[in-house]
């Protein structure tokens, strides 16, 4: 029942991912709209809290994670110079993973939540998602196991690490919390997941993608192998410790706070190492970003990654946190990694890989351009609205402005966010349409070719 056609699992994970980005972002847009019109679609199922949770979980675990798996099902065999261990299992895991995501989606709309941010699915969904992730990891580990290229390129390090860390982190965040009898302790576990779903999955797979794509797209070798090793091990060492900064200035003992804050600041080291490596590789190739959309997406992604990683350590300083924590700023920051940096690199991965799989270039270059500009401009409008809003809001609270008045002050920014968000959302239809056309036309061309060959033979 499941096909073992070459590259089919990579292609199918990408298709599912793009369907989910449309669904997940429509939830996000609805969340933004509800902050303008609070009673829009307000009922027991689609009340604000449910839609916001569904948005967060779907864009991370449905869209982005599926795009990541799609990339890895192509990049890992390529780097290992072998084929995927089992395309059949890859396609099976896709169907299973999607069923679990659907279950999680409906559970959230039904008000079943474990409250853990970035791990909001209830326990019965968590268990199944863990199994799905383990099946994917097994398939990819086996693929690495049968490699014919002995040297492990740096992307493989990142992918291997991420595939190990995600299931483990998922376990720590979701399972013991159900039985540990203390709220703050549970908060620490939850934020261990909350931060490391980003640090040890989103960041590390995304960085692995960039390491793969840059030399391919520019035709230049990686700037420094040494530097990429330093970056990898520094991320692996320090990212894990970041969870506690989410409870900054709060009900945690100061030693835990310090154990979280110091590594958060030290993270500047791997980020600079990684970026120096990317931009070193780019030397002399920047002009190509004018015409090469996947390369432009990748580079815009690295720039947003830099911004996100400048904000992150700064936000971990108690003084900065005391102004912006709990404000709209956080929401702006939280979108920069997942959207600005790593959705962009995933778009680049799709635009690079899909043509290789279907055997024809992307159907429309104009649609790719539109996708890029709507995504980028939309995101900038969205993010700057939220950042300005956050700072204004944070200082208004410090001034002692009554809370309700600060809500009214936020109105124009909340509207700006929704406008930027609409552009980000519209952009994704260019991606989906372009993908659909590419796959369809490629099929027709293959058919015609076969016909032609049959006639001339």
């Amino acid at each position: 029942m499941f096909t073992d056609e070459k590259w089919s699992s990579s292609k199918n994970w990408f298709i599912a991912a793009v369907i989910w980005i449309i669904i997940g972002m429509s939830m996000g847009l609805l969340t933004a709209a509800k902050q303008i019109w609070p009673d829009l679609l307000n009922n027991r199922w689609t009340t604000y809290g449910h839609i916001r949770s569904a948005h967060v979980m779907l864009v991370i675990y449905a869209w982005l994670s599926m795009a990541y798996v799609g990339s890895m099902f192509y990049m890992i065999p390529k780097l290992a110079k072998t084929k995927i261990y089992s395309e059949k299992l890859g396609n099976f895991s896709l169907v299973f993973y999607n069923i679990v995501i659907l279950e999680g989606f409906f559970a959230l709309l039904d008000g079943q939540t474990s409250v853990i941010e970035y791990g909001e699915f209830p326990l019965w969904v968590d268990v199944q998602l863990l199994i799905a992730i383990v099946i994917v990891a097994y398939n990819l580990f086996k693929t690495v196991g049968q490699r014919t290229e002995k040297m492990l390129y740096v992307s493989l390090w990142y992918f291997l690490g991420s595939l190990l860390w995600l299931p483990l982190t998922w376990i720590v965040g979701n399972f013991p919390a159900q039985w540990i009898p203390s709220g703050v302790q549970q908060g620490l576990m939850g934020w261990f997941l909350g931060h490391n779903a980003i640090g040890l999955w989103m960041t590390t797979v995304g960085v692995g993608q960039i390491y793969y794509l840059l030399p391919k797209l520019t035709g230049r070798p990686l700037y420094s192998h040494q530097l990429s090793m330093i970056g990898f091990w520094a991320i692996a060492t320090f990212y894990v410790w970041n969870g506690p900064h989410h409870l900054m200035n709060g009900p945690i003992p100061s030693w835990i706070s310090k154990a979280g804050v110091i590594p958060s600041i030290v993270l500047l080291i791997p980020v600079w190492a990684v970026l120096a490596n990317f931009w070193g590789t780019m030397k002399g190739s920047w002009a190509q970003t004018r015409t090469n959309v996947p390369l432009r997406f990748t580079m815009a992604g690295t720039i947003f990654y830099l911004f996100a990683c400048l904000q992150g350590p700064l936000q971990a300083l108690p003084s900065v946190s005391s102004v912006i924590k709990f404000t709209h700023w956080t929401v702006g920051h939280a979108h920069m990694g997942p959207f600005g940096a790593f959705s962009f690199t995933s778009f680049a991965a799709i635009y690079y890989i899909l043509p290789k799989i279907v055997g024809r270039e992307m159907f429309s270059k104009k649609a790719m351009e539109a996708h890029f500009w709507f995504s980028t401009v939309g995101f900038l409008v969205f993010a700057f609205s939220l950042w300005i809003a956050g700072v204004v809001q944070g200082f208004a609270w410090i001034e002692g402005v009554p809370f309700l008045q600060t809500v009214l002050m936020m109105e124009p920014y909340v509207q700006g966010r929704a406008i930027g968000g609409t552009m980000m959302y519209v952009a994704q239809f260019f991606l989906a349409w372009n993908m659909y056309k590419t796959i369809k036309v490629a099929k027709q061309e293959k058919k015609q070719q076969a016909l032609h060959q049959a006639v001339t033979a």
């Binding site: 509800k34 902050q35 303008i36 609070p38 307000n42 009340t47 604000y48 809290g49 449910h50 916001r52 949770s53 008000g111 939540t113 474990s114 409250v115 580990f141 690495v144 196991g145 002995k150 040297m151 492990l152 493989l156 291997l160 690490g161 190990l164 860390w165 483990l168 720590v172 919390a177 009898p181 203390s182 709220g183 703050v184 302790q185 549970q186 908060g187 261990f192 692996a236 060492t237 894990v240 410790w241 969870g243 989410h246 200035n249 709060g250 009900p251 945690i252 003992p253 835990i256 154990a259 005391s322 709990f326 929401v331 944070g394 609270w397 410090i398 002692g400 309700l404 809500v407 909340v414």
Partner: protein
């Protein structure tokens, strides 16, 4: 190591375990967050009590996505008059915890001090009637029973009398210092 995936995985696992030990396991042995304060005891609701059920309704309707329960010793919180600074032990029985991460609406750590039952009920059914300009959605889809439970939970979010008295005294001292 550049040829051995198992070695990469091994070291990656060990580094990950250090992080777990430091930020998840060690805190288990910390008294400050693992023993309840007197105000924390007040949140140890008996099973099937209206408050316990109300807490479930709070969670099911996603109140925690917009409201924190998290008061810091910072100007942003003291100047908003949020009440006593919360301590680790206040959350001992808070399962799952409702600390929150975003204040689209105000903090609710001690919201029980601020309004009465009727206000809460009216506010849940028609938020804009009590708070003009509020962007909270209406919860008029809840049944009467559910609203009762939710209001009971919200009203229970209070510190002990002693903690409150202490807090008020501290504020007065601070205000008089500021006046000078």
């Amino acid at each position: 190591m550049e040829r051995k995936p198992s070695a990469v995985l091994m070291v990656a696992l060990i580094l990950w375990m250090f992080g777990v030990a430091g930020t998840v396991i060690l805190p288990l042995f910390d008294q400050e967050i693992n023993s309840a304060t007197a105000s924390g005891e007040l949140r140890n609701y008996p099973e099937d009590s209206a408050e316990a059920k109300g807490r479930e309704i709070y969670i099911q309707n996603g109140c925690q996505t917009c409201h924190t329960q998290f008061v810091r010793a910072l100007p942003a919180d003291t100047n908003q008059n949020l009440g006593p600074v919360s301590q680790g032990g206040d959350y001992k029985y808070d399962l799952p915890h409702l600390l929150g991460s975003n204040r689209t609406g105000p903090d609710l750590m001690w919201v029980g001090l601020k309004y009465n039952e009727d206000w809460h009920r009216q506010h849940l059914i028609d938020p804009q009637s009590t708070s003009p300009g509020s962007i909270m959605p209406s919860f008029d889809y809840l049944t009467n029973k559910e609203l009762d439970d939710l209001v009971a939970y919200l009203m229970s979010l209070k510190p002990t009398e002693e903690r409150l008295a202490e807090y008020k005294k501290e504020r007065e001292e601070q205000n008089s210092m500021n006046d000078k």
